[in-house]
Symmetry: C2
Subunit: 408 residues, 2 copies
Amino acid sequence: MPVNLTAPAPETLRPVKGVTLGFTQAHIRKPNRKDLLVISLSEGSRVSGVFTLNRFCAAPVTVCKQHLALGTGIRALLINTGCANAGTGEQGLRDAEASCVALAQALQIAPSQVLPFSTGVILETLPMDRLLHGIPDAVANLQEDHWLPAAEAIMTTDIVAKGSSRQLHIAGKTVTITGISKGSGMIHPNMATMLGYIATDAAISQEALDHIIQYAVNQSFNCITVDGDTSTNDSLILIATGQAGHAEIQLGSAEFNLLRDALTAVAIELAQAIVRDGEGATKFMTIQVEAGQSTEECRQVAYAIAHSPLIKTAFFASDPNLGRILAAIGYAGIDDLDVDQLQLYLGDVLVAEKGGRAASYVEAAGAAVMQASDILVRVVLNRGSAEATVWTCDFSYDYVKINADYRS
Amino acid sequence: MPVNLTAPAPETLRPVKGVTLGFTQAHIRKPNRKDLLVISLSEGSRVSGVFTLNRFCAAPVTVCKQHLALGTGIRALLINTGCANAGTGEQGLRDAEASCVALAQALQIAPSQVLPFSTGVILETLPMDRLLHGIPDAVANLQEDHWLPAAEAIMTTDIVAKGSSRQLHIAGKTVTITGISKGSGMIHPNMATMLGYIATDAAISQEALDHIIQYAVNQSFNCITVDGDTSTNDSLILIATGQAGHAEIQLGSAEFNLLRDALTAVAIELAQAIVRDGEGATKFMTIQVEAGQSTEECRQVAYAIAHSPLIKTAFFASDPNLGRILAAIGYAGIDDLDVDQLQLYLGDVLVAEKGGRAASYVEAAGAAVMQASDILVRVVLNRGSAEATVWTCDFSYDYVKINADYRS
């Protein structure tokens, strides 16, 4: 079950002026589930995106990048679950384009104003007849208060719908930010089978929006991992409709910082929700590495810990088998690491220092920390002032079960 | 259960002239199991070793390196299971040295002529009283035909004892090679909680022996992975007693090549046995990457596949979810990889090419291959002439169970 995470109440996901959402059951892969989502944006909306670095990126990712580069102004997003349209070659590109054409016709916009997204099984082509048939239904269903069902419509192995919303004031106007995400397995920075859509009615220049998405993703979606796999389809989209009524925000202004921090907070909440609902997760772990020589080496250590199946299974068992963490620090790839200098903490408990178990450590103290469902692992390298944080979850029987059964 | 692996029959592990082995139950961690092994070597034996690259290397690894560097001639090895003596700081080093002193006294040799090894739980100190008490019993038990019980004595979560033996003829003399290994989880090149001891009665120069161990380890133990973790204690030791009666083999001779290839074959068998008995393994997978620009990039791709929990769970389920393999190839880190150029085979079945599913592929053919317990995954990159092979196993419920329960 998700770790300290429940679906948001519908009323907590506030409408964003200029955004409507429509969903339907298109039977892409399975019956009786919402699996097709349209997000319609008012004219003049600005959109920025970051995408998977996987060389086998899915056809819709390629099309998204092309349409964003054309700069004709994005007016709609089309998202299906059940089939990732990845590893589908030329056919996949034609299908992604054809679905943009169909939605464009329904909304009377240009195909290049549509961004397509797919998530689900790889190496199978889209069932285009069913997908095209679903588009008019989804369009007919467009409403500004459909954020929660939209979050449900993009779920795959997710157990809980993920959404976050907040408001702030800019130049006397109320600005709303609402976002949804899905993930659950194959989650790794850069960026995993993760889809995220965050919209605000703030008015902001394209340049400033592009800065914010990079900043926000580095603080959020690029700090999470479930199993170390990076998917073919990951996409994070940031939308600003400009309907809030204030003057356009420019890069570097005080308002820019306000909006950036609020958007980043929503992104962090959505990213952490993906880990909390990681496949089979029973624990949420924050891996915090401090006092390193560089952010990069701190991230290396954090990911070595976060990716270790031995550590993840020990956390599943609530077993303070902390030697496995020391081993992971040791193989993280810092060639000149002096292991006698570092400290390892579990929560507030000093576990190891001077190359071994801390004199003050008693296993009961470690075991007590391990009972919690939210656990902090802190490594102090004592060789610099850089730091990095990664969020991950444990490895349980259910992780194996979910992934062994995923296609059946 | 181990994948196509059974313990060797006792008589197949042939004695090696100049080597005797003695074991006992020292109750290091658990009662009623052989957990202490002494290997005694005749005077004039040559010994070469390779050790974990983990910065948190265990105390016995540090002591082994020191004793080998002293060059006083190694005469005995002392191996305990149950406690890894890793993450034990200064106390760990003192304990490792003290155990060398005790065995040296019993055998009337110098402490620097003893190599110590430990495997088991990290971050706990050795129970020195029980270990020291066990040494005379193990010494009293020394026999040349104790290779199989020796293989049993070094097991931790291994299910099956691992040994391999072969003979060859050099200059009219029969030369014997016998080796044992243990592993099972935390297995990764460079080199994992893996212990391996290979002895031959061949006569060979130290220089030539040092060459062979590097060659053999690169073809064997550095090509295996169970879970990507690299342990604190891994050690491979190659012993040549020189008792076979032929002239000393020098680097580069025809006899050198013969002996190198035979020793490497034993090393490969011992390394593969570790994967076949990987924790919870139900499938043995050979990941063969061909036609790359460099061995390094082929290994990157092979390890991306071999380490992916998504792929490993799909193999556990015998599910030809081959898109996950394409995804892993895509995130392996080859920046200029053209995914449209590569081919993916499962056994003899062409699965994917031109960026998608092969036109000739039918899922029944992939499913048929997946039913086997030994499976070949072959990736042809079509961008060069380098290749690399990695052996790994699947991820099952039992992997989680074993590692969640390991200390209890």
